[in-house]
Amino acid sequence: MPSLLRNGQIEQDSWLPPTEALAPGHLATVSQYVEASEKPTAVQIEPGEGIADVLENLDSLELVAVNFPAFMDGRGFSYARELRERGYTGELRAVGAFIRDQLHYLSRCGFNAFQMDGESALEAAKASLNDFSEHYQAAIDKPQPLFKRRAG
């Protein structure tokens, strides 16, 4: 069972990655999700995929995973912002090749779960979540930009 960092804690998880055909216990791909008559509750987004259908049914989802095939591919950051801005409140999980030094930005964009290989990597990654205590921009973690907090 893979472990992951969820809401700052190391936890076990039973969801399995997408497979060719939608199967119980596996995340759906976006196209499986679109085609399914009964909407799955967990879906994994790949960079470049259109997610209009996913955005329409956010209430019925409990898990959205976003894959980072390469850590330099920053498209996942925008997916996360968009999902949260449209009101998604369930688990938003980063999977794939992202690195620990991106955790702080990822969590600011709305990710609350991070799947990484190895218990020690997860333990070390925890520290990176808190690299900064202050930020200029409004983001998902801090809905007010600094220029408003300064004024208040």
Binding site: Q137, L146, A151
Partner: protein
């Protein structure tokens, strides 16, 4: 100028500690080369041909004398005692040790400086007019908006891993001195029909391999929407910009591929849900930013101009320097001074620690303790009383900083090129030096009039060769260094991309080639025409014929 509060300081300090840990993990083998690469780049650290290069941010080119002195100190403590002013108004150290960089950044943080996002695939240092705030032709001071953009873009969580680098420039004058047409996003402060000041927004400009002039995506944007609109553009780019080919990854390629109308629609669609959202600027936020860029306490001089006239009459060399290197100020009795970092024999933009300290002392005495870097790689003291120019000039002479060539051929823009940069196809500094050495007769230069000569060592175009009146580009031909020449580029209001003259040349031919181009101009010009005017009238052919003419047998 902008002064940090506890928030800004905390962010910069925490950034230093973050990078210290990243460097430690890299040196301990816990971070791979590939993983460390974007992390160090986003802290301004390149690994160059001979040593690392550290690029230190000077937000929109403005710094105080405390910062200038710290830069000088850092260059002495950790480097070879000199610095380089880049075409993005930043300072570069050419020889720091990787392991020292966290300490350098900590020293810089103590004077409110950093190297955040001076490199990498993220939003870079926002640039503006070097005469912002003092220009007579300015609609409004652009620097408060640059500062708002700086804060918004600094450590922006969503846009740190873009397809490619992203550059924003802001201007507020009809004569665009910030080259906004050559930026990923260009912003111009303009009035709408109702007389209100807002932003004209351009996107998709850029140099590099495929030079493109930016397209207008919004004719007039209300100020309060500045950040949300930028966010929408960046989001379209982050999601749809190409990531498969780094030469096609800039936003200009996306805007071209989509067409500007479709691009605008996509931006509007992204913008609709975030418009009026949390990042919408408040009047208070704008006023707060503006409060840092107030008018200094100018003295009203009654005899200032007269003193200058007398001094000029007595000393023609001084008079010439005043004519070439100073310009009009919106306050009578003051002038803005450009200190040339282009004397013959020095790499354009290089400055020693001692010279920088001397300029800092002069800025304290004569220019309210502030100085500015320019994208032409010079330094500006923006607020000098006319009556003090003579003393200032004498002090600059002692430092070898009184070259009177601003705007002329030898005031050229030149990237570090093959001497330092690992991406280079060819060296650029020796070409600059050879041209400077050939054309060092100032009277000849003045007779030629204003000419911008720009040199880049490769397609990345850091020397902006496409928008020089004369552009020189280093190219590689079967492992040999050659140089391609283009003519007729322009970075001002009527921005244009230069045309390639023809087959490239060897390095030793370059002064001759430039000489023939200049001769052609001198022969064909009418009395009133500048180089660019003549070029625009006669086209490239006469230049081509002259340069490629077979020598008479």
């Amino acid at each position: 100028m902008y002064v940090y509060d506890q928030y800004d300081q905390a962010i910069v300090d925490q950034r230093v500690e973050q990078f210290r840990d990243q460097t430690r993990r890299y040196l301990a083998g816990e971070l791979t080369e590939e993983q460390f690469l974007p992390l160090r780049l986003q802290n301004g650290l390149y690994v160059q041909r001979l040593a690392p290069m550290l690029r230190i941010a000077v937000p929109y080119g403005l710094l105080n004398t405390r910062q200038a002195r710290m830069l000088a100190k850092v260059s002495r403590d950790y480097d070879k005692g000199y610095l380089h002013v880049s075409t993005r108004q930043n300072f570069q150290l050419n020889w720091p040790e990787l392991a020292d960089v966290p300490d350098i950044l900590a020293d810089l943080a103590s004077v409110e400086m950093h190297a955040i996002q001076t490199s990498g695939n993220c939003i870079r240092n926002t640039t503006t007019d070097q005469f912002a705030g003092v220009a007579a032709d300015e609609l409004e001071d652009p620097r408060p908006y640059c500062e708002l953009i700086r804060q918004w873009s600094t450590l922006h969580p969503e846009f740190a891993f873009l397809p490619r680098k992203f550059k924003i420039a802001v201007c507020a004058t009809a004569e665009d001195r910030a080259a906004i047409h050559a930026h990923d996003i260009g912003l111009e402060l303009v009035r709408n029909d109702a007389g209100e000041v807002g932003f004209k927004v351009l996107a998709g400009g850029g140099l590099g391999r495929t030079p493109v002039i930016g397209s207008v995506v919004c004719e007039w944007l209300e100020k309060k929407h500045l950040l949300t609109y930028l966010e929408a553009i960046l989001r379209v780019y982050n999601q749809h910009g190409r990531r498969d080919n780094k030469y096609k990854a800039r936003i200009k390629i996306l805007v071209k591929a989509m067409g500007v109308d479709a691009f605008r629609e996509a931006v509007e669609a992204e913008w609709a849900p975030i418009k009026d959202g949390a990042n919408t600027l408040t009047g208070e936020a704008i006023a707060h930013a503006q409060s840092f860029f107030t008018t200094p306490e100018y003295t009203s001089y009654t005899d200032s101009v007269e003193t200058l006239t007398n001094q000029s009459a007595n000393d023609p060399i001084f008079a010439n320097w005043v004519k070439r290197n100073t310009c009009e100020h919106r306050v009578p009795g003051y002038r803005a001074v450009t200190i040339s970092l282009k004397p013959t024999g020095i790499a354009p933009g290089d400055i020693t620690a001692e010279q920088l300290e001397a300029i800092a002392d002069l800025a304290d005495r004569f220019s309210f303790g502030e100085l500015r870097t320019t994208h032409q790689q010079n330094i500006v003291l923006a607020d000098v009383p006319s009556s003090e120019l003579y003393t200032l000039w004498q002090a600059l002479q002692k430092q070898g900083l009184a070259t009177a060539n601003i705007g002329y051929l030898t005031d050229m823009i030149c990237c570090p090129g093959g001497d330092f940069c690992s991406l280079a196809n060819a060296k650029s500094i020796p070409v600059a030096e050879a041209i400077q050495a050939r054309f060092d007769d100032l009277d000849y230069l003045y007779d030629l009039g204003p000419i911008e000569l720009n040199i880049s060592g490769c397609m990345n175009a850091c020397g902006h060769h496409h928008i020089g009146h004369i552009g020189i580009l280093g190219v590689d031909k079967k492992g040999q260094e050659f140089y391609q020449v283009c003519l007729g580029g322009s970075q001002s209001k009527d921005a244009s991309i230069g045309k390639i003259l023809g087959p490239s040349f060897g390095r030793e031919d370059m002064p001759d080639v430039v000489g023939k181009v200049l001769d052609t101009y001198v022969e064909l010009r009418t009395e009133e025409e500048t180089f660019l005017d003549t070029y625009q009238r006669v086209g490239i052919d006469p230049f081509k014929e002259r340069v490629y003419a077979k020598p008479a047998a």
